[in-house]
């Protein structure tokens, strides 16, 4: 009979990380570390891609600054200066898909890339330019013609195929459960048509708030598709700690945020339990939990401060990458970032289609 069988209270065998007082209440905010037993590590040679909600851009930026192989498959030629490159959203994401807020959007991106889904909605026409409904803010001034839009989209989807087939690590940040979609074919948009871009049509567009089962099924389908073309890829799931800008659910935005994040967090946890190549990384907990007394949010209680992103990425690099090398690179990256921008307040710029809703409604 083993010693374990004699234990009267199983908690006595648990590590310090199992106890709130030891791992939270007694720790400084910046030292709280909820990561336990990572399943895999990431090497400097691994090709890392990111996708997801606005928060994914922070991860992308830190990985690039830290010297890891952040894979960008849809980029500008080297002679294009950085300010123009970023204005046109080259390098903001691994490919120019813009923010991917929902898991359905992610699945449909893969389906579109491999030609198994062709949405009925092809483009939105504005006064003198054309918008891709599935990445409406990817071009600062839209496309000059439909043929330009289609050509760019074709190139983009080709890049997405290359991305999913060559990545070693795919980091996806789950953002929302709420979405607007086309009633006819279920195509999900990153923004609500008519709110800043496009035109809302009640008989075509409908609101959808995805359930736990639907999000779970989407992630499972995504993983199946991904592994079918890239059998060795590893996946890291995170949940965005950024609250909803607005809800169309009829509930209070606070309740809607709680629902959305709860579903996403629960699915991410369940999926990482089920698949050995999927890891859940707790950036959501680090930023949004009560232990930090809200210090990682700006005054709008929504925007994440640089100190919060620092904390998250310090943990990410510590647990998944080489600790010392990562720390050194982080310091260098921060110094470089601040000296180049003259920034001291720690505001970080991210592209967020969702926030266009606020602007559109005034």
């Amino acid at each position: 009979m083993s010693d374990k069988s004699k234990v009267t209270c199983p908690y006595r065998l648990m590590p310090e990380t199992s106890f709130w007082r030891k791992s939270i209440a007694n720790e400084r905010i910046g030292d709280v570390d909820p990561v336990v037993s990572p399943k895999f590590s990431i090497s400097l040679a691994d090709r890392i891609v990111t996708a997801g909600s606005c928060f994914a851009q922070h991860i992308a930026r830190y990985l690039q600054d830290s010297g890891y192989h952040y894979l960008v498959v849809e980029d500008m030629p080297p002679f294009v200066p950085e300010n123009i490159r970023s204005t046109w959203n080259y390098g903001t994401f691994s490919a120019r898909y813009g923010n991917i807020y929902t898991t359905r959007q992610l699945v449909q991106l893969l389906q579109r890339a491999y030609g198994t889904f062709i949405p009925l909605e092809d483009f939105w026409q504005e006064k003198d330019h054309f918008i891709d409904p599935f990445r409406p803010y990817i071009q600062p001034k839209g496309f000059p013609s439909v043929s330009h839009l289609r050509r760019d989209r074709e190139q983009h989807l080709r890049a997405v195929r290359r991305l999913v087939e060559t990545a070693n690590v795919f980091i996806f940040t789950l953002g929302l459960t709420e979405a607007w979609r086309d009633r006819r074919d279920g195509a999900v948009y990153p923004v609500c048509p008519g709110c800043g871009v496009g035109r809302f049509e009640g008989d075509v567009h409908e609101f959808k708030n995805f359930s736990y089962m639907e999000v779970y099924a989407d992630i499972a389908e995504f993983l199946t598709c991904l592994r079918a073309v890239n059998p060795l890829v590893k996946v890291v799931l995170t949940v965005s700690p950024v609250p909803l800008v607005a809800t169309a659910s009829g509930n209070h935005v606070l309740s809607a945020t709680t629902y959305s994040k709860s579903v996403l967090r629960a699915v991410a946890g369940a999926v990482s339990e089920e698949y050995d190549f999927v890891e859940y990384f707790p950036s959501f907990e680090v930023i949004s939990s009560s232990y930090n007394l809200g210090t990682y949010y700006e005054d709008d209680l929504r925007t994440i401060k640089a100190t919060g992103v620092d904390h998250v990425m310090r943990l990410f690099l510590k647990h998944y990458c080489d600790r010392d090398a990562a720390a050194a690179r982080m310091t260098t990256a921060r110094t470089r970032k601040r000296s180049s921008s003259g920034e001291i307040s720690g505001q970080l710029r991210v592209i967020c289609e969702e926030e266009k809703l606020d602007a559109a409604l005034g």
Binding site: D75, M76, P77, F79, W88, F143, H148, Q155
Partner: protein, 249 residues
């Protein structure tokens, strides 16, 4: 050679295209128009990439690239030891910025790109406006530099490089050092865009002397009689170019 005090003189500063003018001047000095035999100075500065770095950041602001500083100093237009300009009244002709037509590839509808993106295809789509913004950005420092000279009292004129050569095989044969050569249409389109940027941007104390039509065929390529190594034109081009300068400056 110093030319202190000859402020009505004409000075050409440029990249390898200025080298062609310099070579012609060296070989055929006596056949030059009278006006170009005196008070006319051609100065090779550096290869074409200098245009993008002609002003560089220093701890206390921007400074002129030391290579350009030295060339201006040797021409007697700038005292690099005391950082004083002495170019008031001088006619300064700048022959920079057209190297991009050999470095950037665009398709005939100004919407593609073939160099530097590992996409496995040669018609990578890039929005026209990105390339226009990029070319403008790449020339910004050059225009700033010209404005500095103009502020110091010089009459500044930009000169164009030769129109692009029509055939890539011709270039490849004579310039094996070029790893990739954009398609002719790409080079021509970039060249046209450069001419347009210079035309639109130059005003006031800075002029653009558009000599391109004198050297190009109906399609916009370099006239065959001026063929040099595919990137640079020949000495006949240099003769006619200098002749036009003598008439127009």
């Amino acid at each position: 050679m110093r030319h202190w005090g000859k402020m009505s003189a004409i000075f050409v500063f440029g990249d390898s295209h200025a080298g062609t003018l310099l070579e012609y001047r060296r070989l055929y000095w006596s056949s030059l128009p009278d006006v170009l035999q005196e008070n006319f100075h051609v100065n090779f500065v550096d290869e074409g990439g200098l245009a993008q770095e002609i002003l560089i950041e220093s701890v206390d602001g921007r400074m002129i690239n030391p290579i350009m500083q030295k060339t201006l100093h040797l021409a007697g237009l700038y005292d690099r030891y005391n950082t004083n300009f002495s170019c008031k009244g001088a006619n300064i002709l700048l022959l920079f910025g057209f190297a991009d037509s050999h470095m950037i590839g665009l398709n005939p509808s100004w919407e593609g790109f073939c160099l530097g993106v590992d996409d496995g295809i040669d018609d990578y789509y890039i929005d026209t406006r990105i390339l226009t913004e990029t070319l403008r950005w790449r020339l910004n420092k050059l225009f700033e530099f010209a404005e500095i000279l103009a502020d110091m009292g010089a009459n500044v004129t930009f000169l164009p490089g030769p129109p692009p050569h029509k055939e890539n095989d011709y270039i490849a044969e004579r310039r094996p050092d070029l790893k990739t050569i954009p398609k002719p249409e790409f080079r021509r389109q970039t060249y046209r865009e450069l001419v347009e940027i210079f035309t639109l941007r130059c005003s006031g104390g800075v002029q653009f002397l558009n000599l391109t039509t004198a050297f190009s065929d109906r399609e916009g390529y370099l006239l065959p009689k001026y063929n040099g190594d595919g990137v640079h034109a020949n000495l006949e081009y240099a003769r006619d170019y200098l002749s036009l300068i003598s008439e127009k400056v």
